[in-house]
Symmetry: C2
Subunit: 692 residues, 2 copies
């Protein structure tokens, strides 16, 4: 447990300084000013007191039972300090000092040194090269951090790989007046990791929302597991920097970590069930909504406004974000008409007019609260000088306190004058924004979160009749003989073992046997040369389509043999099946993640448009269907220009079987079913490749 | 000239009220408090004084030579008030009152009534149903508006169709501390229009940047002309609401105006050379950058930061926005290395470290300012407690004052404590933002503006050898006979008159003549039935491809004649040209705009992906090339899978010729060249349709 870190009963500061502009001075100051509830022991060999607090020459001189120690001394002295802490029985250490792994081999050696000492004593290390932690829990009030923005209490916890961005988010929450619960920025993360912090947030009752800032994920599986568990209970909002090539370069020059490609991170976030943001301002504003308001049941928004234009802007953004703005029931409209000004508009958006008073707002709010067809309220509230805006704010705040449906407010006001109106809304827990688009996006985030599915809704059902034994044999044999590309025979046998239907096929080792095979399969057939020396068969004329009789097969096979004088040459003879739609299913091992499954439509969709969908295995039937529908060209599979729609369930089954196959056999590096030929009632694998 | 409106020397208020919460009271108060430089005449039949200012019973009693009158009385009294103003020689009137066109036919009649009286006297009307205007020019200080946020002086002028959004933007500028120059929200816009206001902004020397908020464009041609003229001299930033279907509905229920489809507005904005925004916050923040900083020469950004993460976020956003973050020259890196801390990073982003002092910032800024490969500076500035942030701010501000290259700053600070640092940056004209993404987007807007081309760079060269006479004859003849679909003969003759190459063709009125024609053209041929009664020929089997000899042509034509017993049946015989890529060029008349030209690639690109590009005619060669490159599937035209790339110049020529044709003949409603068949050295029209 990380209680000694996040809820320390005592904190010692090795490097507590009397110099005002030093970090060792600031941390003590922050602890004192924020009102830390535990004991504080400045460690300073020269001073008796630092900032009026009794100091100790060495950690060994301080009282026993210390939970947490800050170390803020030059890197080379850190191992000895950790050793001393060990002797003293310290539980956790925050190493604020820099000069370790991030500086090169010499620093890395020092990091290894202090880490092994810490392990010896069972001490947990936070950092090094980090800001530290903050816990605003009123029973703790630990500002163990050298930043400069006084924390405000709140229910959002932050874990950030960059102290700079962590502080940015923390400042954002302070400026918005929603505060922070726990803050953790763990720098080099040599011991305590983001997944561990995430787990801790999950158990902290004061944490209602979690915000993550990620630059690189060192152990994706561990991250997914921890984040998934947390996300099933609390909203997790995440942002990853280094999305672009240049950004990733900046990450690695900054942290030394190799940043993964963005697509992988997005898949990891998706698998973990976290809400992803690409804009940190949007993330902060969304977090405010999560902190203050309930999650809507669905996506139907009722808008109330007292000025037209901004409600239109909000409408655009909400619709663009996949929300709906349904009309009110006729009954509700009639009732509202009687309660609003005659010129008011009772469509959705409801315009109560700039002259609308508190009773008009109340009527509109109640109407929306009581209608089943509305899940959330968007209020656009301008504060004209000619109405009592405080009483309007009270109506909004009262409705907000009920926590029945979420209310988001775009507040158009002069902040220096309408202070009381603002205070009332704030006290009522109404998230207020300065631009309708910002408010609309925050509301949309609540809806998008409501749509994320908990892991339990995405159960993976396994196919029972797979012949794992055969596959194991094939793979082991191939491995022993040092092969990485499996032969056609092996590939098709593996697919058959998992009941993945292939186009009827046979392998023949001579032209005559190819004719034989063709006659057995039935004409017309396809003949493909199969040899380790050729990978892209069609590029070099080693695929012959639509061979109609024995003569054609023989001539073709002989020609191939002539052109490809290879010992291992075999002929793959398949039934020729014209028509149908070509799709592609693949799997690829990705370090630390397992396998990524790919789906796409053949031809220009893949080649020109890069129209592919990826997901991390294992994949449920539901997710497989989402993959198909996530393709831009999905329409072509659903019947176009009179063509019949393809057998989608067949494709889904193959995606799931491939997912199961690679999960069963992590040794598989890559599978390519390219193409699958999909007809209206059947799907066949027409060509496949497996590497191990 | 609208000087009497925007620079009034005197303002009378018909409806100046003693009631504190009334609009007639507020406008007077706003004028007084803002320090209007001219004379003020409250008109009030009962009071001798309003807010201490001498009032007049009637406008007729007030002194002569009044520039501007506010009318804030019930709608039905407005026509008489306008009449009185006319008698008095008033030049302009702002009608704040509502109750006119927006309320129905009765209100519309009143609007017509006062408008005709105004015209009689040569009075210009602003509104009705509007907020009014603000001019912060120190010689004017006209706060002729009933809003409540005290205007700050600035150089950005705002024209908004919605008072609510106008006020939102105006508040945004006040909050950002950049202020407003002229503000105009013209409500129903019965007389003075947005284009007129735009023209006025163009001539106002105090206006450096213009922001437009548009809900619907009533006269696109006039708008394009006015905005284009302005945009060639000053940055114009625009936003249109009602982008989504629901948003457009909200617009029309709000203003009664029929909102155009979004695509058209985007094309109008593009043609006008204005910078388009979809987020009003982004627009406001960009406007601040335009107001304070010069336009960069190109897109290469140098980043300076004193904390890692936020610079990475900025990098991602800049790259995503099409900007570049080039490496510094080796020489510059070497020089910088000597001037920064040893641990500092001299790559771009340059990390001067959190401990970086003013001299480090100065060195980094000077380095970027002096390098030709850098066009703009992005500074990410966190204010740690342990450095002298004021002196750093001074370095940034000094660099900003030079206006050599734009500087944008993401300032991470506690605004309640670092007030002096903030003040220094503000006085230096450095646009500061609270989030790196926001700052990066603002900088990107400057670059995007730099890339918009002035109209003069987009000259349209006309094709001289067009035979307008023949086309005129054909169109007139078709018109006289009441046809709207032109016959194949007419269509192909028109295309030939504009030297648009068609596949060799002939018209035959019998199967025998079709054979004749085919022999002349040379086999293989295509035969199409041509009759007014069939539009989609291929859908009904009235197109036969690849007919190889006389017998096939005859059989086919006779079969068509049998199935289509139509008097006007002709046979269009064309050379059959297999291979080649199918593309589509079209033109469509759009009310108020002229013609929109369309380009797309045939097949699934159009059918499934709706992959089409539109631009407003007339179109230059340059724009035509942009259209082709703007298509997602453009790659397929540039040589794919060993196929030769198509003759792009030929397609461009056809686009331009179609543009010229529809510009010459506005009577043409629609042209469809579908498909054009493009080969590596030639492009032919294979099928075409024209409606008039």
């Amino acid at each position: 447990m990380l209680d000694s870190l996040f809820k320390p009963k005592s904190v010692a500061i090795i490097g507590a300084s009397v110099k005002e502009l030093s970090i060792g001075n600031r941390i003590l100051k922050n602890l004192l000013e924020f009102g830390f509830k535990g004991a504080i022991y400045p460690i300073n060999p020269q001073a008796d007191k630092v900032q009026g607090v009794r100091a100790y020459k060495s950690i060994l001189d301080a009282p026993d039972g210390i939970d947490l120690v800050h170390i803020i001394i030059p890197g080379k002295f850190v191992p000895q300090a950790v050793e001393d802490c060990g002797k003293k029985g310290v539980k956790s250490i925050i190493i604020n000092s820099a000069g370790f792994r991030e500086t090169g081999p010499e620093g890395e050696a020092i990091e290894k040194d202090f880490l092994s000492r810490a392990k010896k004593y069972g001490i947990r290390i936070f950092g090094p090269n980090c800001q530290g932690i903050i816990n605003t829990d009123p029973d703790v009030r630990a500002y163990c951090n050298f930043t400069f923005t006084k924390p405000e209490s709140g229910c959002i916890s932050i874990a950030a790989q960059s102290g700079g961005v962590g502080e940015l988010i923390h400042q954002g929450f302070s400026e918005m007046g929603i505060g922070t619960r726990i803050y953790a920025s763990n720098g080099n993360a040599c011991d305590i990791s983001i997944p561990e912090i995430i787990k801790y947030f999950g158990k902290d009752p004061g944490t209602h929302v979690v915000v993550l800032y990620i630059e690189s994920i060192s152990n994706p599986k561990e991250f997914i597991e921890a984040a998934r568990e947390l996300a099933d209970r609390k909203p997790v909002l995440a942002m990853k920097a280094g999305r672009t090539g240049e950004g990733a370069k900046a990450v690695s020059s900054h942290t030394g970590a190799l940043a993964g490609k963005d697509i992988t991170t997005d898949l990891i976030f998706e698998k973990a069930g976290v809400l992803v943001f690409k804009d940190e301002g949007e993330l902060c504003r969304a977090a405010a909504a999560f902190a203050l308001q309930p999650i809507p049941k669905s996506n139907r928004v009722g808008i109330i406004t007292n000025t037209g234009g901004p409600a239109i802007i909000a409408t655009d953004v909400l619709i663009d974000s996949g929300l709906e703005i349904p009309q009110l029931s006729e009954k509700a409209k009639e009732a509202l008409k009687d309660q609003l000004y005659p010129e008011a508009c009772v469509n959705n958006p409801i315009d109560v007019l700039a002259t609308g008073k508190s009773e008009h707002f109340r009527a509109a709010i109640e109407s929306l609260m009581n209608q089943d067809r509305i899940d959330s309220l968007f209020i656009n509230f301008v504060t004209p000088f000619f109405v009592d805006t405080d009483s309007i704010a009270k109506e909004i705040a009262n409705a907000g306190r009920q926590k029945k449906k979420p209310i988001i407010c775009n507040l158009m006001t002069d902040k220096s004058h309408w202070t009381e109106t603002i205070r009332i809304l704030k006290d009522g827990g109404i998230p207020c924004y300065s631009f309708p688009s910002d408010a609309a996006k925050a509301l949309a985030s609540l809806v998008h979160y409501a749509r994320l599915e908990p892991a339990e809704h995405d159960k993976i059902s396994l196919f029972p009749n797979t012949d794992k034994k055969s596959v194991e044999l094939i793979i082991n044999k191939a491995r022993e003989s040092g092969k990485s590309f499996l032969s056609a025979n092996d590939v098709y046998s593996i697919l058959e073992a998992y009941e993945i239907t292939t186009v009827p096929w046979e392998i023949a080792d001579s032209p005559d046997k190819a004719v034989y095979a063709a006659e057995e399969i039935g004409f017309p057939v396809v003949v493909k040369a199969d040899s380790e020396s050729i990978i892209h068969k069609s590029d070099f004329g080693f695929v012959a389509l639509n061979l109609k009789d024995a003569d054609e097969v023989k001539a073709c096979a002989e020609d191939m043999r002539k052109r490809l004088a290879s010992d291992d040459l075999n002929f793959l003879v398949q039934k020729y099946l014209p028509g149908g739609s070509e799709v592609i299913v693949g799997a690829k091992a990705e370090k630390g993640i397992g396998h990524i499954i790919m789906f796409g439509i053949g031809g220009i969709y893949v080649e020109v448009l890069k129209d592919l969908v990826f997901k991390i295995a294992p994949i449920s039937h539901k997710k497989a269907r989402e993959m198909i529908n996530g393709i831009k060209g999905a329409k072509t599979l659903k019947g176009l220009r009179g063509k019949e729609s393809v057998y989608e369930d067949g494709i889904i089954e193959i995606i799931c079987k491939i997912s199961q196959l690679v999960t069963d056999f992590p040794a598989i590096k890559e599978i390519d079913l390219n193409p699958l030929i999909a007809f209206s009632n059947r799907v066949f694998v027409a060509d496949a490749r497996i590497t191990i």
